[in-house]
């Protein structure tokens, strides 16, 4: 019960501090806002401000409990003392008509019931894969070390963590559930802001319908009840949009500050939310286009851009400094770095664009009705989206459709249903607006949507794999059911995480071929795909059992003896995705004897220069890979430091290397490259007998002594049947996961 109270307190304290911070700023802005719009807008704006303060705390490595609690308490106190808490300095403007009883009843009951379901799910121990995995895994890690640290082997750590910054104090006080409850608070704020927006434009029924369409959407419910960030992102995006409306009505420059801050914070929350900054800048520029001189019309735009940069800039700078890529883990072919392979980004993006769907034609039905592929549905009511075009007859409708379309523009980069969430508020309101103020129709729409989204009814029509709320775990929320029991039953990988804590000493890292909920273990989990170095290790491990990846061929260049100071092998064929150029070893010979590698040799490669040493480490269990599709001009280059006699060059490659074409070149005294030979002969040889053990040695040599393999992983049988052949010892086995230790 104490845990349940701590979770509620942690979340409540954080949410109150967000509201307080927002109230303080709004009071300074002297904005005119009604109370019903000031509350959600203050919370969302305050979240942006607080996120920056927590970023600073983590950057300074002072993220201790008293510092975080002090920040929250001081913010709340300041808001109370100055009167900002109750909006003492915020004008409420002209009154609007109160909501009708029928609207209150339909919206209130429907939203209220869903809110209780979400609240209970958020309050229960966190079981969502990404929430318990990287969202809170990173938060837990940051709290363990009291600050940020560069995690070059975790691509998720490279993403901006705007919302996770708010999870930090909540988690420090009330652990996982507190963070999920903070996210739930964003869903409530979003619904209230949408409701208030309807009143602002004089269409309360449209606002209520829009708010309920979004709030009761099944994927919104599942997301808002977990420590995810999508619903928070939607709230931030809608907040930015709302402030543009407020500015447009009141035209005070100061009102562009929240517009810019929230536009930047949207990027900090989720990269794909950046189009709201385009919307905000575009609207501000458009509305000021007639101002003269030109500097006067530019000033509002620069103010928005500057404020946006205040929020997004720290994340961009962090990534540029730590990961050599301001938008890490993306755009790696532009911002080349040793941490993420270009090929991985290609693979990953490709998967996210299709989610295994054979064709995207049924995507509309998949995202609204089935949800098996795209992990969730937004609800059948959104099949009415074309109706939203009827909202174009209103200025508000045009703006909503434009903002929604901009937010939707990034959707096809990741077709997961939750990636629709940031555009839902706009489309929902546009659908509502399309019906004007036809109360009966809109009430019917709300009731039908609520019924269709009600979890037991969802079970009748969605795919069994559709991500949705499936339980009402009030006993787990109140901790009547022990969290341990609930988690073991409902969290995939929780038992494995606990096993790691029991069996692995200290803070030793564990290399895993399967996802583990990081936030439930104190050990760093190196997941096989999460970075270039992890991928390289996984490639080495897979080489132990996968014949297709083993070194079985040599490509041999034989040529008349010559003296060379610098030689390179150039790949000349245009490959096709996903074919890479791989070289296990590159060896030079003279009269049949290999030239011993000397420390003054200098090795280079293009692309993927950082891993060139893998082709020169004398291990057939490691290989240099181009890290992107093979293309002409790729090379491996060796400078011997002096003239060396050479008459043969060998590359050891895998069986799938027939698509590459190679030529050998030597640098002349003037530095130009001279072709020596092409079309190397191919020799076949046996797979090294100890390749499994050699693969494990690479793990061990990098200071990694523990390996987790899921029973369902490819090659898992090979480990399980004969761990000793791998130089491994099984030290733990639970719910389909085996934990091995290296025995060197």
């Amino acid at each position: 019960m104490r845990q349940a109270a701590a979770a509620l307190f942690g979340a409540g304290f954080t949410v109150a501090a967000c509201y307080a911070a927002g109230s303080l700023l709004i009071d300074q802005l002297r904005a005119t806002l009604r109370q019903d719009e000031r509350i959600p807008l203050a919370f969302i704006l305050g979240a942006a401000c607080l996120h920056l303060a927590i970023f600073a705390i983590l950057a300074l490595h002072i993220a201790y409990w008293p510092v975080l609690a002090g920040l929250l308490a001081a913010t709340i106190l300041a808001a109370i003392v100055t009167g900002a808490w109750r909006g003492a300095h915020t004008s409420i403007g002209k009154p609007v008509a109160p909501l009708s009883d029928s609207l209150r009843m339909v919206f209130g009951w429907c939203a209220g019931i869903f809110a209780v379901v979400y609240l209970v799910n958020a309050w229960a121990p966190e079981v969502s894969p990404d929430g318990a995995g990287y969202h809170l895994g990173l938060v837990a890690r940051e709290l363990r070390v009291h600050g940020f640290e560069p995690l070059t082997n975790d691509m998720y750590a490279m993403l901006s963590q705007g919302v996770e910054m708010l999870f930090v104090p909540a988690f420090a006080i009330g652990r996982h559930s507190a963070a999920a409850l903070v996210h739930f608070a964003f869903s409530v704020a979003l619904a209230l802001a949408m409701l208030a927006y309807g009143r602002r434009i004089g269409k309360p029924w449209a606002g209520a319908a829009g708010a309920l369409l979004t709030f009761a959407s099944p994927v919104v419910g599942a997301d808002a009840s977990a420590a995810y960030v999508d619903v928070a992102t939607a709230a931030i995006v809608f907040g930015a949009f709302y402030w543009t409306e407020v500015w447009d009505e009141q035209r005070h420059m100061s009102l562009l500050i929240p517009v810019g801050l929230l536009a930047g914070y949207a990027y900090a929350a989720k990269y794909t939310a950046f189009p709201i900054a385009i919307y905000a800048l575009g609207l501000v520029a458009w509305r000021g286009r007639r101002l003269r001189p030109i500097g006067k019309s530019l000033r509002p735009v620069l103010l928005v851009a500057g404020c946006a940069l205040i929020m997004a800039g720290p994340w961009i700078a962090r990534n540029w400094i730590w990961y050599q890529n301001p938008v890490a883990p993306f755009a790696n072919s532009i911002f080349r770095n040793p941490y993420v392979h270009v090929m991985f980004e290609h693979d990953y993006s490709e998967r996210l664009r299709h989610y295994g769907m054979p064709s995207l034609w049924p995507l509309a039905l998949e995202a609204t009705l089935r949800g098996g592929y795209v992990s969730g549905i937004i609800g059948p009511a959104f099949l009415l989206l074309p109706v939203a075009l009827a909202a174009l007859r209103f200025q508000a409708g045009r703006r909503l459709v434009l903002a929604g379309a901009l937010m939707f523009s990034t959707y096809f980069a990741n077709i997961g249903a939750r990636f629709l969430i940031p555009s839902l508020p706009f489309f929902s309101l546009a659908i509502g607006l399309a019906f004007g103020e036809a109360a009966t129709l809109l009430a019917a729409l709300m009731l039908i949507h609520a019924a269709a989204s009600w979890p037991p009814i969802l079970n009748h029509y969605v795919n069994a794999n559709c991500w949705r709320l499936v339980r009402f775990p009030y006993k787990a929320a109140l901790r009547i059911t022990p969290p341990e029991d609930f988690l073991r039953k409902n969290s995939q990988g929780y038992s494995a995480a606990q096993m790691i804590d029991q069996k692995v000493p200290g803070n030793e890292p564990v290399f895993s071929m399967d996802g583990i909920p990081d936030s439930y273990t104190r050990h760093p989990i190196l997941l096989y795909y999460e970075s270039a170095s992890n991928e390289t290790l996984a490639d080495t491990i897979n080489m132990g059992w996968n014949a297709a990846e083993q070194p079985i061929l040599s490509r041999v260049f034989s040529f008349p003896e010559r003296k060379a100071r610098r030689m390179r092998v150039v790949q000349t064929a245009e490959g096709f995705y996903p074919h890479q150029w791989n070289v296990y070893e590159l060896r030079f010979f003279y009269h049949g004897a290999e030239l011993a590698r000397k420390l003054d040799w200098r090795l280079q490669a293009w692309p993927n220069p950082w891993e060139v040493q893998l082709a020169f480490d004398n291990s057939l269990a490691t290989r240099w890979r181009s890290g992107e599709t093979a293309s002409p001009g790729m090379y491996l280059d060796v400078d011997f430091g002096r003239d060396e006699p050479v008459d043969e060059v060998r590359l050891i490659v895998s069986g799938d290397s027939e698509l590459t074409r190679l030529q050998l070149e030597s640098a002349s005294s003037t530095g130009t490259w001279e072709k020596i030979a092409k079309n190397p002969t191919v020799m076949q040889h046996d797979v090294p007998k100890g390749i499994r053990r050699m693969a494990t040695y690479e793990l061990h040599a990098r200071g990694i002594h523990y390996l987790m393999v899921a029973d369902k992983s490819n090659g898992a049988e090979d480990f399980a049947e004969d761990p000793e052949a791998w130089g491994l010892k099984l030290i733990g086995h639970t719910e389909g996961e085996r934990l091995y230790q290296t025995i060197w």
Binding site: W601, L603, V612, D722
Partner: protein, 176 residues
Amino acid sequence: MKRRLGLVCAPVLMASACRNMPGPFAPPVQRQPLEDFRPYRMSAIVDMADEDAKTHFVRDLTSNASATWRWTGQWPTLRVRMRSVENVRYTIDFAIAGAMLAKTGPMTVSFLVNDRVLGRIRYKHEGAQHFEKAVPAGWVTAGEDITVGASVNKPWTPPEGGPPLGIMLTRIGLTQ
């Protein structure tokens, strides 16, 4: 104005034009050549302390166990698998309980591979025992299940009842 714009743009363009390339690398530490690798001594030993020991049980392994050993019945049998079967040796570590010997007198344990008797020893004294012997060629097949076990001629039923007990098994299996 143009000059000012140039001053602003030039460093930005230069920075974006810089290719993030590291300098050349020296050859790394050389791994041991393959032929120098310590030849791997294959084994398929089931240790009673192993997490997955139970997955190898075929019959007559009781639930009466400590962290490192387990009481067997009269014919304890386990299943293992080998990738290759050259120079295979049977190996077993177990203990004989004094209380049992006091009741049954000296006992004979037969050691079995695929239900064929590899060896037989008569034990008169309590304590830890080890038996190891080469398995004749042809008794086992690579890549197929192999049963390893033992047979006790005089099982003992403890006074408090329960199933008849044989030996206190610690580990059993095949090595190369």
